[in-house]
């Protein structure tokens, strides 16, 4: 038996049993005995419970893919922590290798046994304090997040449990380069290290899953005797009676025991429990409600709705002044040693510190994925980059938990939850519309450069053909003298003519009328331009006004054969006796560029003004608005 035949004998019922995986050592026999295969090949039973009510979305036999490689679920360890329940599904790949797919509360992560040697001692790992750093692998520091104590273990199918589990603990670390490690201490000083890789459930391509709703747990409120249904048991850790406001916390992983009562049992829910709606493509059911209040002089209150989806886990809808934020716990989150900074960065995006506070829960209804009634001094830090935010909750007992939040518009909320929702007032914390003014400046500069390049490219293709460059003498005895030029060809479908006029005016004026005549059709295009220049001496200071040269255009002239009729008119008795004229065909007009430049810059200027005003109102409620 054993390593040769692949068959082993169950120590409970003596029936033959076999393992799918050579790496798994724990197996649940059909008789209910949890069997452990020792290194020697001998079999012993483990004092570990079998999973009761296996109703999860993933089940033994579920298949999926990791980076295109197919796997099948062959069992799990379900670990009951102080305030959470996580499943460590054993998955076997086509090549026979196995690893854990840890899943719970919407978080999914592959836990692969670490091949690298851990350079830090077990003592330093087990005694790290929240926020401390350890060089775990000799290649850079890892930040310690927190420790979880396992209070109960259940198994199903095949899994890996080294020896008899005792005082099981979990230690979590993350590096500043975004790598995550978890240490599972199955017995004192018996640590197994795993590299943790978070993944979205949609990317797993899961098949053969269990889509049926959780059975939940029902019990009678000992105070008002109504039936309380905890739909997401065992993952819900606390609940509140919607009738009398009494609190219940999960005790010994089995029963809900009374732990207090709502201070104000308003139950002023805008969205009723049981309502369903789609947020970000996920259909959720509202299963809980909490009204919270900042524990400071402002005593700001907001409402939170706890959402649940069997595949995606729990989420939260937070409402303040009619503005809504959708939040979910994240495993892959910013790794920050100190939170008391003006800004943190996540994937090159800056998030500015907006608020920090502790809070108390003043009203509840429904059920919660954690013990909402024992949070005590949970410190919250909020960092925003509208419409997104990162919120981190720090609790000495529960460690550090990161939530990613995103603004949900009032329109979307009303579409999905057609109830009497509050109307928004003021500017929401994550209300979109904020653009970093530096980004606006950059966009404006890029647009100007783009427009200039196009203007110059078009300009380089223009003919700039000089049709006329001559001086004309005016007849002294006449105010107006006329001239006619030779014919010339305008070849482009449409273009312009530039007239540069120079006249020796001095405290006088000169006016030129140019008549462009199509020699074949008789069509005429006329333009007039005055040239005047005045100087004087007034109150000890000299002044001047005007210019002795001017430029004027005839625009959008169609192709054809033309000649010019020029009429120069001078002031009676002036000394102007001549003028110069230069006519250039198909030339660039800077005036066009400057007009379009002003139009282009309207958006950035107006946007900056709007944003400055909006941001003043957004940051009015922040104690860090000066930063």
């Amino acid at each position: 038996m054993g390593s040769i035949t692949g068959l082993y004998q169950c120590p409970g019922c003596s029936k033959p049993i076999s393992y799918r995986s050579s790496e798994a050592n724990t197996l649940v026999c059909s008789c209910g005995t949890v069997v452990s295969r020792l290194k020697s090949g001998a079999m012993s039973s483990l004092a570990v419970a079998v999973v009761a009510f296996p109703e999860d979305y993933i089940q033994t036999g579920t298949s999926g893919k990791r980076n295109g490689v197919r796997f099948e679920v062959i069992g799990r360890c379900r670990l009951w922590l102080d305030e959470a329940v996580y499943n460590y599904w054993t998955v076997i790949f086509d090549n026979g290798s196995i690893c854990y797919l840890a899943e719970g509360y919407g978080l999914y992560a592959f836990h692969t046994p670490l091949e690298q040697r851990v350079t830090a001692s077990n003592f330093s790992i087990k005694n790290a304090g929240t926020g401390s750093e350890l060089n775990l692998l000799g290649e850079g520091d890892y930040l310690y997040h927190g420790k979880d104590t396992v209070v109960k273990i259940e198994v199903e199918g095949e899994c890996i449990i080294p020896g008899q589990p005792r005082d099981v603990r979990i230690y979590n670390f993350s590096s500043y380069t975004g790598l995550h490690l978890q240490f599972l201490e199955w017995a004192p000083d018996a640590l197994t290290a795993y590299r943790v890789e978070y993944i979205k459930p949609g990317d797993l391509e899961l098949a053969n899953t269990n889509d049926a709703a959780l059975r939940g747990k029902e019990f009678k409120c000992p105070v008002c005797k109504i039936s309380i249904q905890v739909k997401t048991f065992p993952y819900a850790q606390s609940c509140s009676c919607t009738n009398c406001g009494n609190h219940f916390s999960l005790h010994n992983s089995i029963d809900f025991k009374k732990s207090g009562k709502d201070k104000f049992d308003d139950n002023a829910l805008s969205i009723p429990l049981g309502a369903k709606g789609n947020i970000q493509g996920i259909m959720y059911e509202v299963i809980g409600y909490a009204k919270k209040e900042e524990a400071n002089e402002y005593q700001s209150q907001w409402k939170e709705y706890i959402l649940y989806n069997k595949i995606e886990g729990y989420a939260f809808l937070s409402e303040y002044n009619g503005h809504w934020i959708y939040l979910r716990e994240q495993g892959d989150a910013p790794v920050v040693k100190r939170l008391n900074v003006d800004e943190i960065e996540y994937r090159l995006e800056p998030f500015k510190r907006f608020n920090t506070y502790t809070y108390k829960t003043v009203d509840t209804a429904g059920e919660f994925p954690y013990d909402i009634f024992n949070d005590g001094k949970t410190e919250v830090w909020e960092f925003i980059s509208p419409p997104e935010m990162w919120s981190v909750e720090i609790n000495k007992r529960e460690g550090v938990t990161w939530f990613y939040g995103r603004y949900v518009s009032e329109r979307k909320m009303r579409e999905q939850f057609p109830y009497t929702l509050p109307y928004p007032s003021g500017v929401g914390v994550l209300q979109p519309g904020f653009i970093n003014p530096l980004r606006i400046l950059k966009a404006g500069v890029l647009a100007v450069i783009f427009m200039l390049i196009v203007h110059m490219i078009i300009g380089s293709f223009l003919q700039n053909k000089v049709l006329l460059d001559a001086s004309y003498t005016l007849i002294d005895s006449l105010n107006t003298t006329s001239f006619v030029t030779d014919k010339f060809e305008l070849t482009k479908r449409k273009s312009n003519l530039e007239f540069q006029i120079i006249a020796p005016v001095n405290n006088s004026w000169f006016e030129l009328q140019a008549n462009l005549v199509n020699a074949k059709t008789g069509e005429e295009f006329t333009v007039e331009q005055g040239v005047e220049y005045y100087t004087g001496y007034d109150g000890g200071e000299s002044w001047s006004e005007g210019s002795t040269n001017e430029t004027v255009y005839l625009s959008s002239i169609p192709a054809g054969t033309y000649f010019l009729q020029l009429s120069g008119t001078k002031e009676m008795f002036s000394l102007v006796n001549s003028f110069q004229i230069k006519v250039t065909y198909d030339t660039a007009m800077s005036r066009n560029f400057y007009i379009f430049l002003v139009l282009l810059l309207l958006w950035p200027v107006i946007k900056c003004i709007q944003i400055i005003n909006k941001e003043k109102r957004r940051w009015y409620n922040s104690p860090f608005s000066a930063s």
Binding site: A443, M451, I458, E524, F525, S555, S556, F596, K607
Partner: protein, 58 residues
């Protein structure tokens, strides 16, 4: 980076209308530059034909 800036998840989404305006204005400028059109110019130029003033022959 998501190129479709009308997609809410694109980093360029806040600039969607500016991009449209910039492209439209630049296109308009390019046409005006090429065809010799003096935009927003009123009154200085007059046009005459055998049919009378202001008549345009295409």
């Amino acid at each position: 980076m998501k190129i479709n800036f009308f997609n809410e998840e694109s980093r360029l989404h806040p600039f969607r209308w500016f991009i449209v305006i910039a492209v439209a204005l630049t296109g308009w400028l390019a046409y005006a530059d090429y065809s010799g059109w003096n935009v927003f110019s009123f009154g200085n130029q007059q046009q005459w034909s055998a049919s009378g003033p202001g008549t345009h022959h295409k």
